[in-house]
Symmetry: C3
Subunit: 151 residues, 3 copies
């Protein structure tokens, strides 16, 4: 979590663009371990990319899954979406590319990182994962109240 | 919204097929702005496409996200799925291709179109977006009762 | 259902690896018709694959949609995730590849298999689909109590 799938026109982005973009996206999630943030770029040619039924080579379509956290507050969400727009501007609007992004929120408890279930939000284990920027085993008890958090 | 990801065998569709198919999919959503409908074609070779554990080059797998509207009525949903089947027939069953399609419904309020949050269903602003077939700024008040619509 | 999208480094898997992997994933779902299980492999080059904002060619990112069944029991889910980890080990950890997998659960009733709505879990029609390993028409009445199962 989060996983960003970015579908973009051919040659819209060079390697440096993609590196900068991926690093900017990581900064949108300051409370998460950095390695939680996955960004995949998919080049899609004009003949495979349709918006409103018309072939398009000026559109960036971004599909995101959020797993580790879900929005519970309208104001925080709106502020964060504004931040997303600002972060993406140099790679979209500023280049004359149209864009759309939508986010799904998927269940926390059916998620595996190297075979481990990631620790609960704000837990001691998560703090360790953040500071070390890698997953590590943690005591099972840390997740013993899972059922309380079930959706 | 909606976003259609169509995974299909190599050379299953020519450019004209894809244009026709994308335009047909747009017609499945007569109440939405046309530019809401995104269709991405992804060619997947036999060695990368497995159904039931067996490599397959006669299968079309379609994954759809619905964002702007959610089904609330069983009958409407069933009728609409019948329409989908009929719409896709010339590109699937009629060509001897097997197919499967599933739809997810994702949260309305974490969705951005060129940095704007799309207007509420059936709002004045949405009507404008439909008639102009492009997004445009609208007064914030139009979305002031967001919390009522939250999932 | 289920649909597995596997994003992997270039040349991480040969054709035999992919066949073995897809067959192993099918075995994770012994109660489902085999043809329900779709597995798509997507090769993603280092310059398009970012984990924590850094280009990565040692990471396998798996995104799964579950449609036919949803987890209702914590213990079953945990046991099953352990099984997933063991199943994937020969293709991930044992090869020095890092990996992450997350699963979404999508609505049963907006799912089509060759234009048919798949039969309800544990129904007579589903048993037939399992034994024949292909979809076939079944009497409408079998799904007549759909609304009871709606989410």
């Amino acid at each position: 979590m989060p996983l960003w799938n970015i579908y973009h026109p051919v040659d819209a982005y060079g390697v440096e663009d993609k590196q900068t973009m991926a690093a900017s996206i990581v900064r949108l999630y300051p409370i998460l371990p950095k390695f939680y943030v996955g960004v995949l770029f998919h080049e899609v040619s004009r003949e495979n990319f349709y918006i409103g039924g018309v072939a398009n080579d000026k559109f960036v379509r971004i599909s995101v899954d959020h797993i580790a956290r879900q929005f519970s507050d309208d104001e925080i969400r709106e502020r964060w979406l504004g931040w997303v727009t600002k972060t993406l501007a140099p790679f979209t609007a500023d280049r004359g590319l149209d864009w759309e992004l939508h986010i799904d929120e998927t269940p926390f408890h059916i998620w595996l990182m190297q075979g481990m279930r990631p620790p609960l939000p704000n837990s001691e284990a998560e703090t360790k994962w953040i500071s070390e920027n890698r997953p590590s085993p943690y005591e099972a008890g840390a997740n013993s109240h899972l059922s309380k958090f079930e959706r």
